[in-house]
């Protein structure tokens, strides 16, 4: 009897929080966040029935916003361009906490144990770390000052790694840092310098072993083996564009997650209409795939059988699907102008695509390559599903 009363009270409380007449208990495993970047709002969506559940407003400047999830997958932490860090309760569709933590930020990560939120900042350049429950400041790590002494380096490519670590790359000073919070909230920082010119983003393998930073200032990537950090950072894909002229880059590519199938990894080439293929045993380039534009996101379906690619302006109306075994282009889809991001459902049967200029999020079937649903959204950019809560390095 006590138990039933408890349940009723809990349900009543949830209803009260939501401010809606009836709120049923529900899980969060099929929830997600869609960023409406110009409006400064987000949609809470669910991918079991492809619907929008709620809109949360008042998140400030969401240019380039990204999201991580609490380990119970109830809360979404939204990193805004204006330094805003907003913790959203996805069940009640309310802002739980919100702070302005910096002047200009690029993204963040949640620690292995779920207790810390780290944010990479352009201004002031550096990393700030917060308590995930309270958003109180735990650590402030200024970046290396740039050569002319005017400011700290911009920080990019923030990921979490096993052992209560965060990794970042420093765009202006060409460094990779490991911030180790395993012993205390005063992190042990390991700095790798001269890793290459202008690292622009990075990714971590799903096992948390390899951190790879893409370089904008030169053709190549920087690889750090976290099982053997003492071996230092190694250059891979060195000089991949040799002999071909680089095109103007109208949008910076992103490295997100890890796009690997069998022994091959797929990464965007900078300033070229190509996806590069490398052998993950030797880290040597083994090939390249010609694409319709300059790749921005190169993402493997969760079963790694297909690679989905979107493109920089002025080719951002297209999405191409690549066979991960034969490296053939299976399809060139045209969701519409301004394709900014893609997110697979956790097991990969669908992909959600944000089509900014049509004001739509589209749901596509990855087997038939047909569009299934369309959800209206205000200039949508990033799409983030809650299964990210349980994945390393996002």
């Amino acid at each position: 009897m006590m138990r039933r009363i408890g349940t009723v009270v809990l349900a009543g409380l949830l209803t009260a929080c939501a401010g809606q007449p009836s709120t049923q208990l529900r899980g969060t495993g099929d929830l997600g966040i869609v960023i409406e970047r110009a409006a400064g709002s987000v949609q809470i969506v669910e991918h079991s029935h492809n619907t929008t559940l709620a809109r949360v407003e008042g998140l400030g400047d969401l240019s380039h916003a990204s999201v991580v999830f609490s380990r119970d997958a109830r809360f979404a932490y939204v990193f805004g361009r204006d330094g805003g860090l907003t913790k959203i309760d996805m069940l009640t569709a309310k802002i739980d906490k919100r702070i302005i933590q910096g002047g200009n930020s690029i993204g963040g990560a949640i620690s292995q144990d779920g207790r810390l939120i780290a944010v990479g900042n352009y201004e002031p350049g550096g990393v700030k770390v917060f308590d995930a429950d309270t958003l109180e400041l735990v650590a402030d790590i200024p970046a290396t000052t740039v050569a002319d002494g005017s400011r700290g380096s911009r920080v990019v490519g923030m990921v979490d790694a096993p052992g209560q670590k965060f990794l970042v790359s420093l765009f202006d000073t060409g460094e990779i840092w490991i911030a180790d919070f395993s012993k205390s909230n005063t992190p042990k920082i390991t700095r790798f310098t001269n890793i290459g010119d202008q690292p622009y983003d990075s990714m971590l393998t799903p096992d948390g072993r390899y951190y790879i930073a893409g370089l904008f200032g030169e053709d190549g990537m920087a690889l750090l083996d976290l099982w053997h950090p003492e071996k230092g950072v190694k250059r891979i894909l060195d000089g991949y564009g040799r002999g071909s002229e680089k095109l103007p880059v109208y949008k910076m590519p992103h490295l997100e997650g890890w796009t690997v199938a069998g022994d091959h990894a797929f990464v965007p080439a900078i300033g070229r209409h190509k996806v590069l293929v490398m052998d993950t045993n030797t880290w040597q380039q083994t090939g390249s795939i010609d694409t319709v534009g300059q790749p921005v996101f190169v993402m493997a379906r969760p079963d790694a059988r297909q690679i989905w690619v979107n493109f920089a302006f002025p080719d951002n109306q297209f999405v191409q699907v690549i066979d991960s075994e034969t490296h053939e282009i299976l399809a060139t889809l045209e969701p519409g102008p301004g394709v900014l991001h893609m997110e697979f459902t956790p097991r990969g049967e669908h992909i959600w695509i944000s089509v900014r200029d049509k004001g739509e999020v589209q749901v596509w079937d990855t087997a038939t390559l047909k569009k299934l649903h369309t959800l209206p959204a205000d200039n949508p950019s990033g799409i983030f599903f809650s299964d990210r809560a349980h994945r390393i390095g996002l």
Partner: protein
């Protein structure tokens, strides 16, 4: 000297003399083109400079920060990019009149 060469040199001279002229007497941009440029400015320039032009990987482009820069050098930056940085040349997609229009919009201040 072949006819083609002469023709191309002649054409070059014509083009050279036409360029400044075409700028000064160019027809105003159509409303439709202005809307496209405004969209490009906020969404695509905004990818690096922020939708509110408060900066990102690219520097902030607010009217206050641009106030002491010459309009001509700003237009040149849009057209030819800034080597050594992530700023690309836009001359394949914009002409000088359009670049000038975008700089003027920035000097007025844009909001998404």
């Amino acid at each position: 000297m072949t006819v083609t060469k002469i023709a191309s040199q002649f054409f070059g001279v014509i083009m050279m003399s036409l360029l400044p002229l075409s700028l000064s007497v160019a027809a105003p941009l159509s409303t439709e083109r202005q809307a496209t440029l405004e969209h490009l400015l906020i969404q695509d320039c905004g990818s690096c400079h922020g939708l509110r032009m408060t900066g990102g990987l690219g520097p902030a482009l607010t009217p206050q920060l641009l106030a002491d820069k010459s309009r001509e050098s700003l237009i040149a930056t849009v057209m030819y990019g800034r080597p050594g940085t992530a700023m690309p040349p836009w001359d394949a997609l914009l002409n000088e009149q359009e670049a000038a229009w975008m700089i003027d919009r920035l000097l007025q201040g844009v909001t998404p």
